[in-house]
């Protein structure tokens, strides 16, 4: 068990500053999912942690061991860091059998043979791969190779495992299954896991805590999944996690209103401090599709353009003036109020609205 601390990490490739004074902490014995769009520097961070890339500034600690410190000129070589890693492309060595793959880290750490054998079999058992011990990776499916990679990371170290987009190459069903298994393995071994992904769905399913990374490489929010979804710290988090609708807020004759292109719908709201429709780029209202309700009595009138049934919910595309909104209605709610037909006029209620500065100034 060990916590991981990144302190003021900066890294750049040539002129491209990937990370700038990046700080983050992973709690001991937990799964932290680091989520961010592709190209934001997640993998660079992992490479710094593993010792495969060398940051310019900052410190990295695992437990009470300092792995890297620019100021104290410490840079523990990759092979001495004792961190288990599962790469996106598995990186299972194709010339070794499954068992040889799993035994390799222990061989390198001079673990006595019998003990190594025992631990390898235990790790293979954890990932349900015992019967494939003598297969070559080329005889395994993607999901099975993935499990070998996880088993290899497990025997290598009990303290910290890093997984860099480990399941993106699997199909949806296998992905779900693997997530459940990773969760299970983590619970039984108590390992700290740093899980890197750009896919918020799997992150939500897996994590104890989530950290959201922005395109520019900075961390914008860390917290439990509820925190992130219910209380997004900024517009980026709000937009990145889940689907979102935006409407411009304008002030007309002293009163606030929502600009829907061909009309302004009156709107009452307390804008947060510092936001004003007439200042800067203006203000936009953000609302989640499942926070929009159908209410025949509402003065906000819209027209249903398309309705898609997704099993557990109905997904609507509605035209509000010239703007298109996504509305989600759970099947349960639809059973109560009836499904809205395509082409019919509906009234909308926007719940839990959030206000952010607009991305672009109004044309």
């Amino acid at each position: 068990m060990a916590n991981v601390v990144f302190k003021d990490i900066s890294f750049r490739y040539g002129d491209n500053q990937v990370l700038k004074n990046f700080s983050m902490e992973v709690d001991s014995g937990q799964i932290l999912c680091l989520v961010g769009p592709s190209g934001c520097g997640k993998t660079t961070l992992v490479r710094c942690l593993l010792g495969l890339s060398k940051p310019e500034t900052g410190e990295i600690w695992v437990g009470d061991t300092c792995l890297f410190s620019a100021a104290r000129r410490i840079n523990v070589p990759a092979e001495r860091r004792n961190i288990g890693i599962v790469f996106q492309d598995y990186a299972v060595w194709p010339h070794m059998t499954v068992k040889e793959n799993v035994l390799y880290p222990m061989k390198k750490h001079r673990v006595p043979k019998q003990e190594a054998e025992k631990r390898a079999m235990h790790a293979l058992q954890q990932v349900n791969m015992t019967e494939y011990a003598n297969h070559l990776p080329s005889q395994l499916s993607g999901g099975q190779q993935q499990r070998v990679a996880i088993a290899r990371a497990l025997v290598g170290n009990g303290d910290l495992i890093v997984m860099d987009e480990p399941i993106t190459n699997l199909d949806a069903k296998l992905r779900e299954q693997m997530l459940a298994e990773i969760r299970q393995i983590q619970r039984s071994s108590g390992t700290t896991v740093l899980y890197i992904t750009h896919d918020q769905e799997s992150a939500l399913q897996l994590c104890d805590k989530m950290a959201i990374m922005q395109q520019d490489g900075s961390l914008c929010q860390t917290g439990t999944d509820e925190d992130i979804i219910l209380r997004p710290a900024n517009r980026f988090t709000f937009e990145f996690i889940g689907v979102s609708n935006f409407l411009r807020v304008v002030r007309k004759n002293g009163a606030l209103g929502l600009d829907v292109g061909n009309a302004v719908i009156p709107w009452q709201a307390e804008l947060p401090d510092g936001l004003d429709p007439d200042k800067g780029k203006g203000v936009e209202l953000g609302v989640r599709p499942n926070d929009i309700e159908f209410d025949p009595a509402s003065p906000i009138r819209a027209k249903v353009r398309r309705c898609v049934f997704l099993g557990s919910e109905y997904d609507y595309f509605v035209d509000l003036g010239q703007r298109e909104l996504r509305v989600q209605q759970s099947t349960l709610a639809a059973a109560r109020t009836g499904v809205m037909r395509e082409g019919s006029e509906v009234g909308l209620r926007l719940l839990n609205p959030r206000y952010y500065e607009a991305k672009e100034a109004k044309a």
Binding site: I85, H95, R110
Partner: protein
């Protein structure tokens, strides 16, 4: 932490104090390439233009303006042009015939078409010389006797003859490239054109040919370079008639001067002419065939629809078989038969056959020495190049230091430098002129030349394999606790081992039959197999030369079989 035994005592391993393995490998690659490649090339240029430290271009200009040299330059260009032209046409035609039509006995014919690639061209030239020599060729004499002709109908000792023999050994370059491109081409591309209403011939012209054009031009380039630099065939067929090409002229100049420094300097000047011709040819070729490469040719092999030849099937089959007989069977049979005959010139009938030539050949100590020398140089060159090429490939592909482009160019450069030129560079560099190191007349000077000549083979082979080894495989090993050296040893090396082994044989096989470079470098005790056959023939001992040639061919076939056996069962990588 769970691991106690190898726990890091000094976690504050301070960065930058030790020289890294990567740095050491990079420096080593540069140093070795400078020694092997840069120094010989530099010495040629230096000695062609400088004399005793002074700039003196007189020698170069006098060589350049010499009518004999100009004639040989013109011959070189003519031969290379025709060989490239006909070789490309022939290669493409047979590649299409065997790759895409329903001609019978494809597998067997494909194997046979690859034979000229292994067969030493100078042996082929010897065989054709025996058959079609203007004065004494067996076939010529038979034709004269049978049809009461006044003179020999064929004369192989001519530009046309040289072109013919080179052609039969160089067209497989295009053939092999195009066959594999045709196999990897997505057949739906052609089918789409058919469905869109194009006729069969239009499809070939508008779809198939443009798609395999990169493969054709790569093969044609190989033919062009090889033919410009080729020594064996023109030396065997041309010397008696005074037909010289630049490589044979260089050899003649140096051997006439008896190895004097003046002769070698003249050779160096001629070498520069040859290099210029090669360079110009490369540039023109690039301009003419600047075809883009298409990604439509995929790595995996598909099952193309075969084109029905219908009525043309049998005539085309006969044509292909005749070609094979002419370029493969006839020279082989000729060499074996003449190796058996009691004295050169006697008719090839069983009464005149004897095994005496073989006995004589093996009684002479020169034979064993030459086989021993060839084996030693070829195996050493193969092994050394295998490791060196892999080292450079690793530096270029994985470490990617500044100046990796230079490294790449340097290692591939000798490939486009004719073997004759390389030999002169090696003589100038390693016969005492530099640092007082003299390897002249020793086996080592041949080895050094072979290293430069064949390094690019193993480097290309290892490069291609290294590209397939994803960096995360090595990184995974590092995080599992393997040091950089250990990750190389445990992961990278085993994964590229098959490519290294095939790199070895890519060098070993041509080195075994090499004659171009060693004919300029051999000393009294360091004849190679090729040189031995060459000088036996030079001394007029035709049957013995043919006997030794037969032995060489058997040796090559045996080695080749071993190679295919070894490379067949690689572990599932």
């Amino acid at each position: 932490m769970k691991f106690g035994v190898r726990k890091n005592k000094d976690l504050a391993a301070i960065d930058g104090r030790r020289i890294s393995l990567d740095g050491a490998m990079t420096v080593l690659s540069f140093v070795l390439l400078v020694i092997i490649v840069v120094i010989p090339v530099f010495m040629i240029i230096y000695h062609a233009f400088f004399y005793e430290g002074h700039f003196s271009p007189e020698l170069f200009t006098s060589q350049l303006l010499d009518p004999g040299n100009l004639a040989s330059m013109w011959n070189t260009i003519q031969i290379a042009f025709w060989v490239t032209l006909f070789g490309t046409i022939m290669g493409v035609f047979y590649a299409w015939l065997l790759g895409r039509s329903d001609i019978p006995a494809k597998g067997l014919m494909r194997a046979l078409f690859n034979i000229p690639y292994m067969f030493p061209p100078f042996l082929g030239a010897m065989a054709w010389d025996l058959l079609l020599n203007g004065r004494s060729g067996y076939l010529n004499r038979w034709l004269v006797d049978t049809f009461n002709l006044s003179g020999a109908p064929f004369n192989i000792n001519s530009l046309g003859g040289i072109v013919f023999v080179e052609l039969s050994y160089y067209f497989p370059f295009v053939f092999m490239q195009v066959v594999s491109a045709l196999e990897r081409m997505d057949p739906t591309l052609e089918e789409c054109a058919r469905i869109a209403g194009a006729k069969q011939l239009t499809v070939i012209r508008k779809i198939t040919l443009p798609l395999v054009l990169p493969a054709i031009s790569a093969g044609a380039l190989l033919i062009l370079i090889s033919s410009l630099a080729h020594f064996g065939v023109p030396s065997i067929l041309g010397f008696s008639q005074g037909i010289y090409t630049l490589p044979t002229k260089i050899y003649a100049t140096i051997s006439r001067s008896g190895g004097s420094f003046e002769g070698i300097r003249q050779g160096a000047a001629l070498s520069i002419m040859l290099v210029v011709v090669v360079a110009v040819a490369l540039i023109i070729q690039k301009k003419v065939l600047s075809a883009g490469s298409y990604d439509i040719i995929k790595g995996k092999s598909m099952r193309p629809t075969l084109i029905k030849l219908r009525g043309a099937r049998i005539p085309l089959f006969i044509l292909a078989v005749t070609t094979l007989v002419l370029i493969v069977i006839v020279p082989l049979v000729m060499i074996f038969l003449v190796g058996l005959v009691r004295a050169y010139g006697l008719p090839l009938i069983p009464e005149n056959f004897t095994l005496n030539n073989y006995v004589k050949v093996f009684e002479s100590s020169g034979t064993f020495d030459s086989i021993k020398n060839s084996l030693f140089v070829s195996i050493s060159a193969g092994v050394v190049c295998m490791f060196l090429g892999t080292l450079i490939a690793y530096v270029v592909q994985k470490i990617k230091p500044r100046g990796k482009g230079v490294l790449e160019v340097l290692s591939v450069l000798p490939y486009s430098i004719p073997g004759t030129v390389l030999a002169i560079g090696v003589i100038l560099a390693w016969s005492g002129g530099l640092f007082g190191i003299s390897l002249y007349n020793t086996i080592w000077i041949i080895l050094v030349a072979y290293l430069a000549r064949y390094l690019s083979f193993s480097m290309k082979s290892s490069s291609a394999a290294l590209l397939q080894v994803h960096p995360s495989l090595e990184e995974a090993a590092r995080t599992c606790g393997a040091s950089h050296t250990e990750s190389l040893k445990d992961i990278t090396l085993p994964l590229i081992r098959p490519a290294m082994v095939s790199g070895f044989f890519l060098i070993f096989l041509p080195a075994m039959r090499e004659v171009t470079t060693s004919v300029l470098l051999y000393g009294p005790y360091t004849r190679t197999l090729g040189v031995q056959i060459y000088s036996l023939r030079d001394a007029g001992m035709m049957p013995q030369a043919a006997a030794l040639g037969s032995v060489a061919i058997l040796l090559i076939i045996v080695c080749n079989t071993i190679v295919t056996q070894i490379t067949k069962d690689r572990k599932g990588v």
